[in-house]
C-alpha cells in the first residue's frame, strides 16, 4: 500500500468519541485549522487523526489528542512545569512515534501531563523535532482517563493531504 494513501478502517466513525472534535490551538503557526478527532480503530485501542497546515501543527495536535485521551478537561491544564525536548529519527513517522512516546514517558516516569507550546520540525532525513512543553504534575484532583501504553505502528501515517498535513495514530490502551 502506498504511504500516501489512507489505510482502510481510518475513514469511518469520525466524531463518535465523546472527546472528538476538541480543538487544539497549540502548535507553532497552527492557526484555527489545527485539530484532532478520535476515530474507530482496533477494538481494544484508541485511534485519532490530527490535522494542521504544517508538520509542526500536526505534531502539536497529536500531543493534544494524547492529552485528551489521558485527562479530562485537557484545555484547563496548567503551565507551571516546563520542559524542552529535542528528538531525531530517520523518518517523519518514526519521529511522530518518538514524540508521543516522549510524552507518555514523561507521564509515567516523571508524573507530568504536558502539552506542546512550541514545536519545530526540520527534515529530513534525519528528521529533527524541538519542542517547548508546558504542563503540570499528575494529581491535584484532575481526573485521569485512559492509561495509554504506547503509540503503535498500526496504520501509522503522517504526510500531506488535501492541501494540509495529517497524521493517523493508534494508541494502545
Amino acid at each position: 500500500m502506498s504511504r500516501d494513501e489512507p489505510r482502510t478502517g481510518w475513514a469511518t466513525g469520525r466524531g463518535t468519541d465523546p472527546r472528538a472534535g476538541r480543538r487544539s490551538g497549540s502548535g507553532s503557526g497552527s492557526g484555527d485549522r489545527t485539530s484532532f478527532e478520535f476515530v474507530e480503530g482496533a477494538t481494544s485501542d484508541l485511534a485519532f487523526v490530527a490535522r494542521g497546515p504544517t508538520p509542526e501543527s500536526v505534531f502539536a495536535a497529536a500531543a493534544q489528542a494524547l492529552l485528551a485521551a489521558t485527562v479530562e478537561e485537557p484545555e484547563r491544564l496548567g503551565a507551571g512545569v516546563r520542559r524542552r525536548v529535542v528528538l531525531e529519527e530517520p523518518a517523519l513517522d518514526l519521529l511522530l512515534l518518538r514524540w508521543l512516546d516522549e510524552l507518555i514517558w514523561l507521564r509515567d516516569a516523571r508524573q507530568l501531563l504536558m502539552r506542546a507550546e512550541h514545536v519545530t520540525v526540520q527534515g529530513g532525513p534525519p528528521w529533527r523535532l524541538e519542542a517547548e512543553l508546558a504542563g503540570e504534575p499528575i494529581g491535584g484532583g484532575r481526573r485521569l482517563l485512559a492509561d495509554v501504553k504506547a503509540a503503535t505502528a498500526h496504520g501509522l501515517w503522517v504526510g500531506e493531504r488535501d492541501g494540509g498535513w495529517e497524521a493517523r495514530v493508534t494508541l494502545d490502551v
Partner: protein, 484 residues
C-alpha cells in the same frame, strides 16, 4: 464482520485458511472456535493471521484462538511458533503489555462469611493496591534493586518476603525468565517502571473477588486438585502485567526494528509486524529485554498477591495462613518463549509467540509442579467483569496448538462504542443490582469494560474444549471488582 469464504472446516471446532489466501503465506492459518465465534471475528483477524503466516521461519501454521480479535500486527489471540534458527521475533507478536497475565488465589473462606465484609474488603483492596493511570507502587526500589527484579522476577519478590516457595512453584516458569539481561533495557524503561511494582494498571486490568457456585463445577476432581473444593468458596483473581516498563521496552524495540528492517533483508508485510531475525544481535537483545519485562510482571503479580493476603488478614484479624490464601496458578498470555515441543513426531525447540493466548501444558509435562502433574496445567481465562471467568486445564491434544489456548472473552466492541452505550456510573449501579460490587479508578475505563463489549466466556471455554486445546474445570462468578 464475516469469515472469508476461503475458510474451510478442518474438524470439530477448527477451521483453516489455505496458503494463497493472502500473498506471501508460507503456511496456512488455523482458526479455533465454533461457527458462531468465528463468524463474529473481525475480518482483520484473518488478514492479520495470514500476514503472520508469511513471516520467515513459521512452523506448521499461524494460529487463531477462539477469543481472537483485531490487534496490531498479530491479532490478539494469535500464536506463532518460529524455528529459532530461521525465524524472527516480533514485538507485535507479544504486545506492549509484555507478559500480562492472570493469577488465581484460592481461600478457605465461604461467601456467607465474606458477604457482610465485602464492601470493607473492596475499599481496602482499592486503597492498598494502587490502580489507574499514573499509579505508583508501595515498594520503593533504587535502580540496582530494580535490575535485580528484572533478572529474577518473582524470585526477587519472595526473597524480599513477598510470598513463599509454593507461590514460585505455582507460577509459570517458576516465576523467572532465565534469558533476562538488564543491559539490553534502556534507562528510560527503567526510570518509567521502577516505581510501578505492586500496581494493577488500568484498561482491562482488574482484581476480582469471585465465588465458586455449585453449577460452576465442571470437573470436581480436577478442581479439588487446584484447591477449588466446594461451592461457596471465595477466590481472588487478578489481571495485570509489566506496566509502563514493559510498554517502554516494546516501544523502544518497535522503533529500533522499524529503523533496521531494511537492513535485515526481511519482507515488510505490514509495519506493525516489524521484526528481527531471532539470531541477530537485535533479535537477541529484544528477547533478553522482553524477558526482563516478563520478570517485572511476575514480580508485580507476586507483590500484589502478597498485598492481597495482608488485606484479608487485616480485615479478618487472622494470620493469612489460616485463611488458606494459596496461589492456584500464575500464567501469562503476552510473551515469546523458547519451548521444547512435539512437532510431526519429534521434539523441537521453537520460539513460541503468544499474544492474547495462554500456554496450557498437558498432564505429565515435566515443567508442571508435582501437584498438577496428573491434572494438566491450570489455565486462567478472564471473562468480562460481568460474566465471570473460567479455570481450564491443559490436555494432551493441545500439542496441535503448541499447547496454547484462549486467554479471555475477547472484545467484540471498541472502547469508544462501549463508552457511548453506557456511562460508568450507571454500569456500576446496574452491576450492584446483580450482586457485583465495583471500585473503579475511572468511569470511562469502567464503561469500556462492560460485559456487552465482550464475547461469551462460556462459548470461548467450550470452544477450546471442542477443539482439543483445553478442558473446562470451573466457572467462577464475580461478586466484587477493583477496576484499574
Amino acid at each position: 464482520m464475516a469469515a472469508p469464504s476461503a475458510l474451510q472446516p478442518l474438524r470439530a471446532g477448527v477451521f483453516e485458511l489455505p496458503v494463497g489466501f493472502r500473498p506471501g503465506m508460507r503456511v496456512p492459518v488455523r482458526v479455533y472456535g465454533d461457527a458462531e465465534l468465528v463468524a463474529a471475528m473481525d475480518d482483520q483477524v484473518f488478514v492479520q493471521a495470514a500476514n503472520v503466516a508469511a513471516l520467515p521461519g513459521l512452523v506448521d501454521a499461524s494460529l487463531v484462538m477462539p477469543d481472537a480479535h483485531w490487534g496490531y500486527g498479530f491479532p490478539i489471540g494469535g500464536v506463532a511458533a518460529m524455528d529459532p534458527e530461521e525465524g524472527v521475533i516480533s514485538p507485535g507478536g507479544i504486545g506492549f503489555d509484555i507478559n500480562c497475565g492472570m493469577r488465581l488465589v484460592r481461600s478457605d473462606l465461604d461467601w456467607a462469611e465474606l458477604e457482610p465484609r465485602l464492601d470493607a474488603l473492596l475499599d481496602a483492596l482499592a486503597e492498598r493496591i494502587p490502580a489507574g493511570t499514573g499509579a505508583r507502587g508501595f515498594v520503593e526500589l533504587d535502580d540496582d534493586e530494580f535490575r535485580e527484579v528484572l533478572r529474577d522476577g518473582a524470585r526477587w519478590a519472595v526473597r524480599r518476603g513477598f510470598g513463599d516457595a509454593e507461590d514460585l512453584a505455582r507460577t509459570e516458569s517458576g516465576g523467572c525468565y532465565p534469558d533476562a539481561d538488564p543491559a539490553c533495557v534502556s534507562e528510560r524503561a527503567i526510570e518509567r517502571g521502577r516505581h510501578q511494582i505492586g500496581t494493577l494498571g488500568a484498561g482491562n486490568h482488574y482484581l476480582e473477588i469471585q465465588v465458586l457456585r455449585p453449577e460452576g463445577l465442571r470437573d470436581a476432581r480436577t478442581a479439588r486438585a487446584f484447591g477449588l473444593e466446594r461451592a461457596g468458596q471465595v477466590v481472588v483473581m487478578f489481571h495485570c502485567g509489566s506496566r509502563g516498563f514493559g510498554h517502554q521496552v516494546a516501544s523502544d524495540y518497535l522503533r529500533e526494528f522499524l529503523r533496521r528492517m531494511p537492513s535485515f533483508g526481511l519482507p515488510v508485510i505490514e509495519r506493525d509486524l516489524a521484526c528481527a531475525p531471532f539470531r541477530s544481535d537485535e533479535g537477541q537483545a529484544y528477547f533478553r529485554a522482553m524477558s526482563c519485562a516478563a520478570n517485572m510482571s511476575l514480580a508485580n503479580r507476586q507483590v500484589i498477591a502478597h498485598r492481597v493476603r495482608e488485606v484479608f488478614a487485616d480485615l479478618f484479624g487472622r494470620d493469612p495462613a489460616t485463611l488458606g490464601l494459596r496461589t492456584v496458578y500464575d500464567v501469562a498470555h503476552n510473551n515469546a518463549r523458547l519451548e521444547r515441543l512435539p512437532v510431526a513426531g519429534r521434539e523441537r525447540t521453537l520460539l513460541v509467540h503468544r499474544k492474547g493466548a495462554t500456554r496450557a501444558l498437558p498432564p505429565g509435562h515435566p515443567e508442571l509442579p508435582e501437584a498438577y502433574r496428573e491434572t494438566g496445567q491450570p489455565v486462567l481465562v478472564g471473562g468480562s467483569m460481568e460474566t465471570g471467568s473460567y479455570v481450564l486445564a491443559g490436555v494432551s491434544t493441545g500439542a496441535s496448538s503448541f499447547y496454547s489456548t484462549a486467554h479471555g472473552s475477547g472484545r467484540t466492541m471498541s472502547r469508544t462504542q462501549a463508552r457511548k452505550r453506557v456511562h460508568g456510573r450507571e454500569l456500576r449501579r446496574q452491576m450492584a443490582e446483580r450482586g457485583i460490587h465495583v471500585r473503579a479508578a475511572s468511569w470511562a475505563g469502567l464503561a469500556e469494560e462492560a460485559g456487552f463489549a465482550y464475547k461469551s466466556v462460556e462459548a470461548v471455554a467450550e470452544a477450546t474444549e471442542v477443539a482439543g486445546l483445553s478442558r473446562r474445570v470451573a466457572h467462577l462468578v464475580p461478586v466484587g471488582n477493583v477496576k484499574g
